[in-house]
């Protein structure tokens, strides 16, 4: 049996909401007064669960609550969860950037993180000087860096500029240099957070290869945090699923990934109801939602799901009106727009209506999309709400475990080839 290298017991982290001002001073004084009388912190008992879709009811929130897990030596543990599930907070605690509100983390080895690369680069120093500075910040000694410097420089692909100040570098070069330094760290436990989104395709391939080397061949203990289920599946031996600051699942990677995909709730944004701004003279919009074909409002949308845009509204005019959607990618480039004007004739129709626009499967690439929502009357926009609603498309469940690079572009069509 291998030995436990990292043990996390009963970790919780509380954050204060709102601004720091006289209110927080009063809380601090009260806390201090309780402490000198030997009593418990009065604010530890309160605090709401970190659910970002709901309005907080107190001044405190628990970013993490009662986290327990152990990591064995040589294990690659995946940590998965939605934005705001507490992943980054957990990593911050592990990398000793901040301390937990309660609980203990015990470690038998040095922890280093690839949390966000490029920390501590000084723009006035040259690339070479920055390699030394950054390496030292990450915990390497000068001798260690010197022995690896040529390797680091060639990995970064910045040979030509290595004696030029970093402020003259392009952003891509800076990131590549930073990743090169971090990738050559040799800690006992390595924490990796979403570095896959770095650099161009060629460099990404290099980076992924390096990470596979680190975790598989060197037998290093790795904590790997990612949204990329394919990467998690191919790298990790075990995974935990975080949701609203609590561990919801812990165990086998495949089971964890499928648990995450089926049980995670949607990010807020694919459903809007009772918007007072859309309570208008000629129509009142009750709800707008984007659903996968199975109709379950809390299920995920995959590349091979049909997508249903559903609008429920009260039509208060006899005029012919059309609903219009514009689908945009993350750069706000309009991919296409489509309206109901020529599809549904609603002249002289009044009352509650439910219209659905259905997008066939295999249209979108994985990613996040924004949607403008508008209404057309007499060939003019009666209103147009930009970025009104959003949705995310996930990679086909069947494809998980394959190559985990992402193909380019907002659309991913299932086309046929002839030969």
């Amino acid at each position: 049996m291998s030995k436990t290298i990292l043990k996390v017991s009963d970790i919780s982290k509380q954050y204060r909401l709102g601004l720091v001002g006289t209110g927080s001073l009063i809380h601090d004084l009260n806390r201090f007064w309780h402490r000198i009388r030997g009593k418990e912190d009065p604010y530890l008992k309160i605090g709401s669960v970190n659910d970002r879709t709901a309005m907080a009811d107190g001044h405190y929130v628990w970013a993490l609550q009662n986290i327990n897990f152990e990591v064995q030596e040589g294990e690659v543990l995946g940590i998965i969860g939605k934005n705001g599930a507490g992943k980054s907070t957990l990593l911050k605690l592990l990398s000793r950037v901040t301390s937990p509100t309660t609980g203990v983390i015990k470690s038998r080895g040095r922890i280093a993180s690839l949390l966000e690369v490029g920390t501590g680069f000084h723009p006035e120093l040259t690339g070479r000087e920055n390699i030394y500075l950054n390496g030292a910040i990450l915990g390497m000694t000068k001798a260690e860096i010197s022995s690896k410097i040529s390797e680091i420089i060639s990995f970064s692909g910045c040979e030509l500029y290595i004696d030029t100040p970093v402020k003259r570098y392009s952003s891509g070069m800076t990131v590549r240099l930073a990743f090169a330094v971090a990738a050559h760290l040799e800690p006992d436990i390595l924490v990796i957070d979403e570095v896959l989104a770095v650099g161009d395709a060629e460099f990404q391939k290099k980076a992924i290869g390096k990470m596979q080397d680190i975790s598989k061949e060197d037998g290093r203990t790795v904590l790997f945090v990612s949204h990329n289920m394919a990467a998690v599946k191919s790298l990790c031996t075990r995974a935990i699923v975080l949701e609203n600051g609590e561990i919801k699942f812990s165990g086998d990677t495949d089971e964890a990934v499928s648990y995450y995909l089926t049980n995670s709730r949607h990010q807020a944004g694919n459903y809007k109801a009772d918007d007072p701004e859309l309570n208008l003279d000629i129509l009142q919009v009750n709800s707008v939602s984007i659903l996968p074909d199975n109709g379950k409002s809390d299920a995920l949308i995959f590349q091979d799901s049909e997508i249903r845009f559903e609008v429920v509204f009260d039509k208060k005019t006899n005029d012919h009106i059309g609903l219009n959607f514009r689908i945009k990618d993350q750069n706000e480039t309009i991919l296409f727009s489509h309206g109901s004007l020529n599809k549904i004739d609603n002249k002289d129709v009044r009352g509650i209506q439910k219209y659905s626009m259905i997008i066939p499967k295999n249209i979108f690439n994985e990613g996040d999309f924004m949607v403008d929502f508008g209404c057309v009357v007499n060939k003019k926009f009666y209103f147009l709400k930009e970025n009104y609603i959003s949705f995310s498309v996930h990679r086909k469940a069947t494809e998980i475990g394959g190559y985990f690079g992402k193909s380019k572009g907002g659309l991913k069509l299932d086309l046929t080839w002839e030969h």
């Binding site: 436990t4 911050k92 203990v104 015990k106 993180s113 000084h122 120093l125 500075l133 000694t141 000068k142």
Partner: protein, 289 residues
């Protein structure tokens, strides 16, 4: 498999020890310390025309103005020490204390980006400031020496050097200790409540005037005897005066060993308080800064 508790390399928890200056850890990060020092020195005057000459310009100009205002207009007596030399020595010493103080005091705010992502012993940052400023101070001390030689050799100033000169390093360490101690206290208090940071910039300015920089303590005692406690019990005034005494050794300057002991003891207490607060803050300041 049961493993004993002490085999853990480190623990992270909410509980904190009162004083926790882990020398082994700081030693392990010594390369980082030296790289920070190098960065501070090399980068300050990059892309300037005069470059390191700026190290000289600031104390020289300030001394000229001080001489003009305090000695020529306000006629403060500096005894047999030439007024310009008197001012240059005080300003050089005060500047070192000041940069140590302000450098340390802003530790958490100016480094929050890097502190928010990576762990290393936080004390490295103020410590590196003290060392890099020591290098600048050393350069400025050279100018002071140059002017000393000029005044003694060419202007016939009646100054002699004696064994008290050996106290100069002691006073330099004291300045660093006070700068670090006060700076750490301020840095921790400003992570959550920014009020002190605003106060600091003009407070150091005012502090200079009550710390015997533009005058010898005896002048203050003679002209304002009812307020002389301001300088008598002010450890910073004691340091500046003592530093001058070690260099010039003249009769209008005061020095006694009890004063030095008092200053040293107070400095150690201040430093320890600063360290306690600093340790408490470094663990979770990133949540409040």
């Amino acid at each position: 498999m049961q493993l004993s508790e002490d085999k853990w390399l480190f623990q992270i928890s909410a509980k904190r020890k009162l004083i926790e200056l882990n020398f082994r850890e700081i030693w392990r990060y010594r390369d980082l310390l030296m790289l920070f020092v190098k960065r501070d020195i090399v980068t300050v005057y990059k892309q300037t025309v005069l470059g390191p000459l700026w190290f000289f310009i600031q104390p020289l100009f300030t001394s000229v103005i001080f001489t003009l205002v305090f000695n020529n207009i306000a006629s403060i007596e500096t005894g047999i020490i030439p007024a310009f030399l008197f001012n240059l020595s005080g300003i050089t010493a005060w500047n070192y204390f000041k940069v140590c103080l302000t450098g340390t005091a802003s530790t958490f705010r100016t480094n929050k980006g890097i502190f928010g992502k990576v762990y290393f012993p936080r004390f490295i940052v103020p410590f590196s400031k003290v060392i890099s400023n020591l290098v600048k101070f050393g350069i400025q001390l050279l100018i002071l020496t140059g002017f000393y030689i000029y005044y003694v050799g060419f202007k016939g100033a009646d100054l002699t050097i004696n064994s008290y000169l050996l106290l100069v390093p002691v006073y330099i360490i004291l300045m660093a200790v006070y700068g670090l101690g006060m700076g750490m206290i301020i840095s921790t208090l400003t992570t959550k409540y920014r009020d002190l940071a605003i106060l600091l910039t003009f407070a150091t300015q005012l502090l200079m005037y009550v710390s015997a920089v533009p005058y010898p303590i005896s002048e203050f005692q003679m002209k304002q005897p009812q307020y002389s406690w301001v300088v008598d019990y002010n450890p910073l005034a004691q340091i500046i005066e003592g530093f001058r005494y070690a260099i010039f050794h003249t009769e209008n300057l005061q020095f006694d060993w009890t004063g030095l002991m008092y200053t040293g003891l107070l400095g150690v207490i201040l430093f320890l308080i600063g360290l306690i607060l600093f340790n408490r803050t470094e663990k979770s300041f990133i949540d409040t800064v």
